[in-house]
C-alpha cells in the first residue's frame, strides 16, 4: 500500500470508528475535547524526573481503551510519527546530563537517562489521549465543540471543508502519481521536469472545483455556516464524564498513587 493509500485508509478507518455506537461516541464532543486538553496539559506539566507520578497517568487511557473497546493497534501505529522526533530530542540527555541519581545494583542511573524516559512516556501518553478524542468523535462533532467555545464560524467552516475534500484530493493525487509511475518505470518519485506541471494541474483543477463547490453550496442555501439539527446542550452523562475524569486526572497529578500503593504493600 502506498503512502497516500495508507492515509486514505487511515482516514476511513478513523471515520468508521468515530461513527460506532459506543458509550463514548454518544458523549458530547465538547466534554471529550476538554478532558483531552486537561489530560495533555497535566501530563506535560510533570517534572522531567518524576517518573512515578507520570506513570500513574496511564490510568486514564487504560480506563477508556478498555471500556470503550478502542483499537490499540491502530493507535500504536500513530506513534511512528511522534516517537522518532521525541526520541531524537531525548536521546542526547543521557550524554549531557550524567549526574547519578541512584544505583540499580551496580549500574548508576543518571538524571539524563530518567529525563529521556520521561520524555518518551509523555510522548506516548499525549498521543494516546489525542487518539481517544479522534477515535470517538467525528471531525464535524469536534468542530461543533469548537463553535461552542466561540471559535469563529469562518474558521470552523474552513476546517470542515478541508476535511471533506482531503479524501477526494488524496484519491486524485494517488491516481495521478500512479499514472505517472506506470509511465515512468523504475523511477522513484516525480522527476524535476514534471514538478510544476503535475502539482500545477491538480491545483488548477482544485481551483475550478472550488468554484463549482461554492455554486452548489449556494444553491443549497449556504449562508456561511453549516446548520445542524443535533442539540448542543450537555446532558447528565456528559457532566458525569467531565467531572469524574477531570477529578481523576487532578488526583493522579497530586497524589502519587503508584508510590502510595507500593509503600502500603511493602509495609
Amino acid at each position: 500500500m502506498s503512502k497516500i493509500e495508507g492515509a486514505i485508509h487511515e482516514i476511513h478507518a478513523m471515520d468508521a470508528m468515530a461513527s460506532e455506537d459506543k458509550w463514548i461516541n454518544k458523549l458530547h464532543p465538547l466534554v471529550k475535547l476538554l478532558v483531552t486538553f486537561i489530560y495533555i496539559f497535566i501530563v506535560v506539566s510533570f517534572d522531567s524526573t518524576d517518573i512515578n507520578g507520570l506513570l500513574s497517568m496511564i490510568l486514564y487511557p487504560v480506563l477508556i481503551f478498555i471500556t470503550a473497546e478502542l483499537d490499540l493497534k491502530m493507535c500504536l501505529k500513530r506513534l511512528r510519527i511522534v516517537l522518532p522526533l521525541v526520541c531524537l530530542v531525548g536521546l542526547f540527555n543521557p550524554f549531557f546530563d550524567r549526574e547519578i541519581l541512584f544505583y540499580a545494583g551496580s549500574v548508576g542511573i543518571t538524571r539524563g537517562m530518567i529525563t529521556m524516559v520521561t520524555l518518551i512516556i509523555k510522548g506516548v501518553f499525549t498521543v494516546l489521549a489525542a487518539y481517544i478524542l479522534i477515535a470517538s468523535s467525528k471531525i464535524e462533532d469536534i468542530c461543533r465543540a469548537l463553535r461552542m467555545l466561540h471559535v469563529p464560524k469562518i474558521f470552523v467552516t474552513l476546517i470542515l471543508l478541508i476535511y471533506r475534500y482531503v479524501t477526494l484530493f488524496l484519491q486524485e493525487v494517488n491516481r495521478m502519481t500512479q499514472a505517472y509511475a506506470l509511465r515512468a518505470p523504475n523511477q522513484k518519485g516525480i522527476s524535476y521536469k514534471a514538478w510544476g506541471s503535475l502539482a500545477g494541474l491538480i491545483l488548477l483543477r482544485a481551483m475550478d472545483r472550488a468554484s463549482a463547490v461554492y455554486e452548489s453550496m449556494c444553491l443549497r442555501g449556504f449562508d456561511g455556516e453549516f446548520k445542524r439539527e443535533n442539540s448542543t446542550q450537555l446532558c447528565g452523562n456528559d457532566w458525569i464524564y467531565l467531572i469524574s475524569l477531570s477529578a481523576l486526572i487532578l488526583f493522579l497529578r497530586y497524589v502519587h498513587l503508584f508510590e502510595l500503593v507500593g509503600n502500603m504493600i511493602m509495609k
Binding site: L85, V89, T115, I162, E172
Partner: protein
C-alpha cells in the same frame, strides 16, 4: 518540523497559543472585511490540495532523496497572507487530529512556526515586494526560494527556542540550533524549488490566480538579464565590502574552535615542505589573509572584500558568456 506535545512545557504552549490566536483573530477580521463569500470554499479546497500534494514525493536530481511542497508559501502566494494563514491552521489541525502529526497542545507552536512565518513573513516581506512591478518566472522562482529558506530558518529557530524554553532537552542551545538550521536550509532550498515550479506553472496557465502581483506598465514582465547582473553585482559588493567589516572583528568558527583547544588561532609549523609552500604562497597571493599586503587594518579587509566580489562576479560573467558562446556554436 511538527512539534509533539511532549516537547513543550505548558507555559510555552499557552504563550504560543495566545500569539497564534491573536494572529488568527486578525486574519479572521481581515478575511471578513474582504467580504468575498466565494473565498471560503476556495480556501477549503486549497487547504485540501496542500494536504494531499504534500504527500507527493518530488525526486531531487542527483541525490536519490525527495522533498515536498511548502504549504505556507504556496497558499499565501495564491490566497494572500490572511486567508493563507487560516487555511494553514486548518491543515495543521487536521494533520494533528487525523495523523498525530504534531500535538494538540503544541498546535499553537506549530501554527506559529509553520503558518505564521510562511504566510506573513513569506507573503508580506518577501513575495509582495518582489512582485511589486509585475510577476515573471525569475521573480517567482527567487521569491519562492527566498521565502521558503527564510521562513523555514525562522521556523526551525523558533523550534529551538521553544524547546529550550520548555527545558525538555539537555542539548546546549547552540548545538541544537547548529543541527536544526543547516538541515532546514537544505529543506528550504528544495521546497522553494518545488513551490517555484508549481507557481511558475500557474503563472503561465492562469496568472490572475497569483496574489499580490501588481500590474506593471512595462510590457517586459521578466526581470532582464542586465538588471539581474547589476543587482547581483551590487549585492556582492555590499556583502563583500560591508559585511567583511563585521566579519573582520570576529574569528571564524574554526579559528574560534582552535583558540579554545590550542589557545591560539594560528598554529605554528616548521619544516622544509612547509617553508617552501609558504614562500610560494607569499609570492602568488595578491591579497594575503584577505587584506592588502603588509596592511592589517579594517580598510584593507574591506578593500579585499570589494576586490574579491568584483573578481568573482567578473569570473562568473565571463564563464556565462563562454558557456553561451559554445552553446550558440553547438546550436548552429
Amino acid at each position: 518540523m511538527h512539534m509533539a506535545d511532549a516537547l513543550v512545557a505548558p507555559a510555552v504552549a499557552a504563550t504560543m497559543y495566545a500569539c497564534s490566536t491573536v494572529a488568527a483573530g486578525c486574519s479572521v477580521k481581515k478575511v471578513r472585511l474582504e467580504n468575498d463569500p466565494k473565498k471560503i470554499p476556495v480556501m477549503g479546497v486549497m487547504g485540501a490540495f496542500v494536504f494531499a500534494t504534500q504527500m507527493i514525493n518530488f525526486t531531487i536530481p542527483g541525490t536519490g532523496s525527495s522533498g515536498h511542497l511548502c504549504g505556507g508559501m504556496l497558499l499565501s502566494a495564491l490566497l494572500g497572507p490572511y486567508a493563507g494563514f487560516l487555511t494553514m491552521i486548518g491543515v495543521l489541525l487536521i494533520q494533528c487530529l487525523m495523523f498525530a502529526d504534531g500535538g494538540l497542545l503544541a498546535l499553537g507552536c506549530n501554527i506559529w512556526n509553520m503558518a505564521f512565518y510562511g504566510c506573513f513573513i513569506g507573503a508580506m516581506l518577501i513575495w509582495k515586494p518582489i512582485m511589486k512591478n509585475g510577476a515573471g518566472r525569475i521573480k517567482i522562482t527567487v521569491a519562492s526560494i527566498l521565502g521558503c529558506i527564510v521562513t523555514l530558518q525562522m521556523g526551525a529557530f523558533s523550534v529551538c527556542l521553544e524547546t529550550l524554553a520548555s527545558g525538555i532537552t539537555e542539548l546546549p542551545f547552540g548545538v541544537f540550533a547548529g543541527m536544526m538550521q543547516p538541515i532546514h536550509l537544505a529543506i528550504g532550498l528544495v521546497e522553494g524549488l518545488i513551490t517555484a515550479a508549481v507557481l511558475c506553472f500557474v503563472y503561465d496557465a492562469r496568472p490572475e490566480l497569483l496574489w499580490g502581483v501588481e500590474k506593471s506598465n512595462n510590457a517586459k514582465r521578466k526581470l532582464s538579464f542586465k538588471t539581474t547582473i547589476i543587482i547581483l553585482a551590487a549585492a556582492s559588493v555590499i556583502i563583500g565590502g560591508g559585511l567583511s567589516l563585521i566579519a573582520s572583528s570576529y574569528p571564524d568558527g574554526l579559528e574560534w574552535s582552535m583558540e579554545k583547544v590550542a589557545g591560539t588561532a594560528e598554529l605554528e609549523a616548521d619544516g622544509i615542505i612547509y617553508n617552501t609552500m609558504a614562500e610560494i604562497q607569499d609570492k602568488t597571493a595578491i591579497l594575503p589573509d584577505y587584506a592588502i599586503k603588509d596592511s592589517d587594518n579594517i580598510f584593507g579587509t574591506t578593500i579585499s572584500g570589494i576586490v574579491g566580489a568584483i573578481v568573482v562576479v567578473s569570473l562568473c560573467v565571463i564563464c556565462c558568456y563562454i558557456f553561451r558562446f559554445f552553446r550558440r556554436k553547438s546550436n548552429e
